[in-house]
Symmetry: C2
Subunit: 371 residues, 2 copies
């Protein structure tokens, strides 16, 4: 995790309180999660003991936390701890009542989207007059607009993932299991500075038709297409890129499919501009794929936002009319999957800038011929 | 993840449906989580696209899931897939409405305790006549009673963690940073068969007084006490053990403190028997520590249940009157922390059997003198 200066955290906390006020929320309740990390600058583990950041317009941020977590929290917060009220609770206290007493008069309250159901119910009982909704109403728009520093962190993560992709597809892959190649990808991602590689999809042959295939004991062989979808977290920000390889020369049928995919992916990237509805980007790629007769084989959305989380807003899906904004960062990843046979996907992370789209991933998008 | 036979999964699904009926719940809604893994035998990642197992008394289990996750789910479920109705949804479908239509007449519905708030709210809107509560009412009692096979998996995880503890405390620790020692612990846990080491607390000198210290750049030195709290997941089941080391011969003051801790931990283990309230075990240890004058320095509960999760029911805390049952597996981990100076903790995983307690961790509980 890359520590940002305290003034960045302070400004995020202030922006969240101001946005809550504008949205008509009396408070935001944020348990450990990417939102918590965004606001406080460190990761607390999601545990059964309640840790909850309380943000109220016009008040100091308050952190209700287990007594035994207090030393670690103070250490992680550093000087930011001086600007936050810490409310430690003992093992036999009721932390939900603590939060309740802070919010005695609250009406509308936003809870962090991934807060555990058991906490939601207990907070609901501790706040009988409050109406609970999701905090993403306030926090997602803040997190969408990446700062210059965040973009540099995302760029560095993308460059590292590109290097790993180039390295792995320079090797002989046939004769190895998917799981073995995936393990090497994870190892290389860590060597390239990632804290962890949460997943590495290596989907070969018929498995390449399963978009979220889990690499297994299948041995890669001549005539396979291989979808390599790799990434993780580097300095707290996510990488995510996909390239497609083929063992040996591809048959004309696969080359034709891949050419269409390549065109669709490029067209969607070229269509990025502030103000375009997210669904229109999806449509740009989908129309090209559909016109070529592969429409039903593009079985998922075009992409997803990325930042502290691998999947976050904005989602590039046919049902999303939200307009792209400067500072949005998201994947563009169309795929074509032929059940029982093969599949292909190309994925880049792109930024929406004033002047259009910019791709953070720069490795070759050509079909990678491997041995 | 250790795959259990399909009949184990079938029996768990049937027990959950039967227990839901007994508890007066019309359905359980289980999103990816340890409960999901318990019931279906595999781990699905918690993602923004809804995957939800629907369990209703007298009906076949139904799994609502994103279309693109279906191939992987079928692969993971194996023959169990024949006994479950899979309901895949497309990217532009409303999966919450799908769940709603399955539960048109439902009254009381239990949702998985860690289900994301955003899902809870959306399911609530899709089930306007239902009353939502936590599924743990039904599932926690099932998960508490560990089967013989689960106990063997927990024992194997404990033995592996013991080996790592013995190996690390056989080395010279002074002159190394906490972070360096923690990295070695994690590496050794993986070598000993763990899928991952979620944490490794190496808390030295004054840091040993912070029960959940995050290992940092502090260099271990003569006169330090070191709390080593290590564990992770092995074949899907958690390990968790703590031993205390001292660099060089401890002063009499520390030796006295440690002797009290040792006695308290042993007494709590000896007091394990079916029917004893969880809080009474906590009290056994706390009374010994309090009588010796260290009461305020034992700042946390005595222990927590363990299984698929590191922390699960039963919790051994002063406020918990639940009685222990045969098949409960939990930690016994008193600690004494002297702020700014040092600290100590001893933790074993123990089972409640017909004839009393049995400790799964067998490594020496003596203060470990290290160089």
């Amino acid at each position: 995790m890359h520590a940002l200066p305290p003034q960045v955290q302070r400004q995020r906390l202030e922006s969240a309180a101001a946005a809550a006020a504008t949205t008509g929320l009396d408070a935001l309740l944020v348990t450990p999660s990417p939102d918590y990390r965004y606001l406080l600058g460190y990761d607390a583990p999601p545990l059964e003991r309640l840790t909850c950041l309380v943000i109220r317009p016009g008040e100091r941020p308050t952190l209700v936390l287990p007594h035994l977590e207090e030393p670690l929290a103070r250490h992680q917060l550093g000087t930011l701890a001086d600007e936050i009220d810490l409310v430690p609770w003992e093992e036999t206290d009721d932390p939900f009542a603590r939060v309740g007493s802070l919010l005695a008069g609250a009406g509308k309250v936003g809870v962090q989207d991934q807060m555990w159901a058991t906490f939601v119910f207990r907070l609901g009982r501790a706040l009988p007059r409050a109406e609970l909704g999701v905090a993403s109403m306030v926090l997602a728009p803040l997190r969408r607009r990446k700062s210059a520093e965040e973009i540099e962190l995302l760029r560095a993560a993308a460059v590292a993932a590109d290097e790993v992709m180039d390295a792995i597809t320079a090797e002989q892959l046939s004769g190895r299991t998917e799981a073995d190649v995936a393990a090497e990808v994870r190892r290389r991602l860590v060597e390239a500075g990632h804290e962890g590689a949460d997943w590495a999809i290596v989907a070969s042959g018929p498995n390449a038709a399963s978009p979220h295939h889990e690499p297994g004991e299948r041995v890669i062989q001549a005539g396979d297409s291989i979808v390599l979808d790799i990434g993780g977290s580097r300095a707290g920000y996510a990488s995510d890129t996909t390239r497609t390889a083929f063992v040996g020369e591809p048959p004309a049928e696969f080359a034709a499919l891949f050419a269409v995919l390549r065109e669709a992916q490029a067209a969607a990237c070229d269509a990025i501009r502030p103000g375009i509805p997210a669904r229109d980007l999806d449509r740009v790629a989908r129309e090209i794929i559909t016109a070529a007769g592969y429409g039903p084989m593009f079985t998922h959305r075009l992409g997803h936002g990325i930042g502290l989380e691998t999947h976050e807003e904005p989602y590039l899906v046919e049902s999303n009319a939200d307009r792209l904004q400067v500072g949005d960062v998201f994947s563009i990843e169309p795929g074509i999957y032929v059940g029982g046979r093969w599949g292909a996907r190309i994925e880049d992370i792109a930024i929406c800038t004033d002047s259009g789209g910019e791709r953070l991933n720069q490795s070759s998008r050509e079909l990678r011929i491997v041995s």
